[in-house]
């Protein structure tokens, strides 16, 4: 059985349907990203998987159990790591004390010094938490998520508010978790984050999944048409070109094709033979961002 199975999940707050029929599976050892704009239903979905919120409908299995079932909840949580959006650590305790406390909750915790090394807070081991910078507190937060040696870790927008260096470090940490065999479910609204980290991505918008797949195949990115763009050479009309032009605007042409090798061969051969330059020539495939914007724009945001 996969690590996570979600089938037709539904959740409303009053009249607002936050999650409307979400289904997906996450395999063991996989990094799965829920990508979507704010208010799309990412956090609600994750909170249901964590057993924090009760669902209105649908089936949810996390490591083979219902996360809201009281009788198995403690055993389940001993196998889960959870990093919330809010940075929440006791301000008056030191880094070591906070980690030591959380380590007592788990049957097989990592040695605290090992966690401190992993999150790169060796210098701050005995510093009070309130003296840490925002980024350092966030790393401690991640440390609390991994101290119990979880089989499955939830990362809710793990790099929101990070500077580029801190993001790279956080990404490396996720890659290390994956390398160690931990299953990761992360939510994010950063396309590059999903692309860099996830084995599979589900785009969620308006409470429903609008696309799902490996980042490089999402929205048929790998097989869909490419765009070839360049500026028309002087004294050349679009009609003079050896290939059919899709759009032309102010001397800039775009050719949409699924047969880019053939088209480029034809076009560049023609240009060389006739001594034309193709200024600004680019070949573009849909980016994950194009797919994301297209898919999320189609959904009417409540």
């Amino acid at each position: 059985m996969p690590a996570i199975v979600v089938d037709d999940l539904r959740k409303s707050y009053g009249n607002f349907q936050a999650v409307r029929g979400v289904s997906f599976e996450v395999g063991h050892g996989e990094v799965f990203a829920l990508l979507g704009p704010n208010g799309a239903g990412k956090t609600t979905t994750v909170e249901i998987l964590e057993g924090f919120r009760e669902r209105d409908g649908g089936t949810v299995r996390v490591l083979d159990v219902d996360p809201f079932e009281r009788s198995t909840q403690r055993a389940l949580r001993e196998r889960l790591g959870i990093v919330l959006q809010e940075c929440a650590v006791e301000p008056f305790l030191t880094v070591r004390e906070v980690l030591q406390r959380h380590a007592t909750f788990y049957p097989a915790p990592l040695p605290v010094d090992e966690v401190i090394a992993k999150i790169g807070l060796e210098e701050k081991t005995d510093a009070r938490v309130k003296t840490l910078s925002g980024g350092q507190q966030r790393r401690l937060d991640v440390g609390l998520g991994i101290v119990g040696q979880p089989d499955l870790i939830f990362l809710d927008e793990p790099t929101t508010g990070f500077d580029p260096n801190a993001r790279r470090e956080a990404w490396d940490m996720v890659r290390n978790l994956r390398a160690g065999g931990t299953t990761v479910l992360l939510t994010t609204h950063y396309m590059d984050e999903a692309e860099a980290l996830a084995d599979r991505v589900a785009i969620i918008a308006g409470g429903a999944i609008v696309a799902e797949g490996a980042p490089d195949t999402l929205g048929a990115r790998d097989t869909s048409a490419v765009h070839i763009r360049f500026a028309l050479p002087p004294n050349v009309e679009a009609a003079d070109l050896p290939v059919a032009v899709t759009t032309e605007h102010n001397g800039h042409v775009a050719i949409e094709t699924t047969d880019e090798v053939e088209v480029l061969h034809c076009l560049t051969g023609w240009a060389l033979t006739n001594h034309h330059e193709l200024h600004g020539l680019v070949v573009e495939r849909l980016t994950l961002e194009d797919v994301y914007l297209r898919l999320t724009a189609e959904v009417h945001q409540p």
Binding site: F52, E78, E86, F105, A108, L110, V112
Partner: protein, 265 residues
């Protein structure tokens, strides 16, 4: 390297309560507000009030010296400040920071968390009470009461009642900014009405009004073992019963209204 080795075995409940109590103790004593508002206030007020007119006598309480009235009064204050005021403000603060939500999502059972929180309040109260009794004894010649069992019972009922009220109040307070002022105003007005600063004439308007609130009953119950009148009962059963009713009502509110996640509006 740490000596902790993964054993793969869950800690016993008792072991967890112990480690949580140690955590709560650290968090309490390092929080300047918590320590000052409970222990600091009670000690300073007892010393000051004892100095200013502590030897005056209260005719309607068997000519007891005022300071002998203040010692049990500030024992009660210490318990109430620790269990009600500081506990409620701490819980609201932890909730708004997201600490309670994080804890809720950890494997730590809720009963162990609250058990340790209560024990912590009991430990702080006990330390405070010992300090106040020693100050009373050596600075103001207020004897340790003969019926210690009655005093211990009153204190335990007080800890439970005011902790239940504190946990219940935390669920009703929307944010951290409101917690301190709102709780402190309610608390000090009740302390005033209930005769912490001056003994209330039996049957007076204040005595009748404050009889509706648990603060008055707790002050009466801690004073009972200190009451010098010959036929006074060291066990204030009636007052303990009223506190018990408050504890029951507060527990229901605490369970129903407790919030684990920050309120966002």
């Amino acid at each position: 390297m740490s000596t902790a080795v993964a054993t793969g075995r869950r800690r016993s409940d008792l072991g967890l309560v112990w480690s949580e109590l140690k955590y709560e103790q650290r968090a309490f004593w390092r929080n300047p507000f918590a320590a000052a508002f409970s222990v600091g206030f009670s000690v300073v007020f007892l010393i000051l009030l004892g100095l200013s007119g502590g030897n005056d006598r209260v005719s309607f309480l068997g000519n007891v010296r005022t300071v002998q009235y203040y010692v049990p009064g500030f024992l009660a204050y210490g318990v109430m400040a620790t269990c009600f005021n500081v506990l409620a403000i701490t819980l609201v603060g932890r909730r708004e920071l997201g600490l309670l939500k994080r804890l809720r999502l950890s494997p730590l059972p809720t009963r162990i968390y609250f058990g340790a929180l209560l024990l912590n309040a009991l430990v702080v109260s006990t330390l405070q009470i010992i300090a106040l009794m020693l100050i009373g004894r050596f600075a103001y010649h207020v004897a340790i009461p003969g019926n210690l069992i009655a005093l211990v019972l009153a204190i335990v009922v007080g800890v439970v009642t005011f902790a239940a009220l504190g946990i219940g109040a935390s669920g009703l307070i929307p944010n951290q900014e409101a917690a301190g002022p709102v709780l402190s105003i309610v608390f000090f007005v009740l302390l005033y009405l209930s005769g912490l600063w001056f003994p209330l004439q039996p049957g007076s308007a204040l005595a009748r009004i404050s009889a509706w609130f648990p603060v008055r009953h707790f002050i009466v119950a801690t004073f009972a073992p200190y009451d010098p009148r010959p036929h006074a009962n060291a066990f204030a059963w009636h007052d303990l019963l009223v506190m018990g009713i408050w504890a029951a009502v507060a527990s229901v509110i605490a369970v129903r209204r407790f919030k684990w996640e920050p309120r966002r509006s």
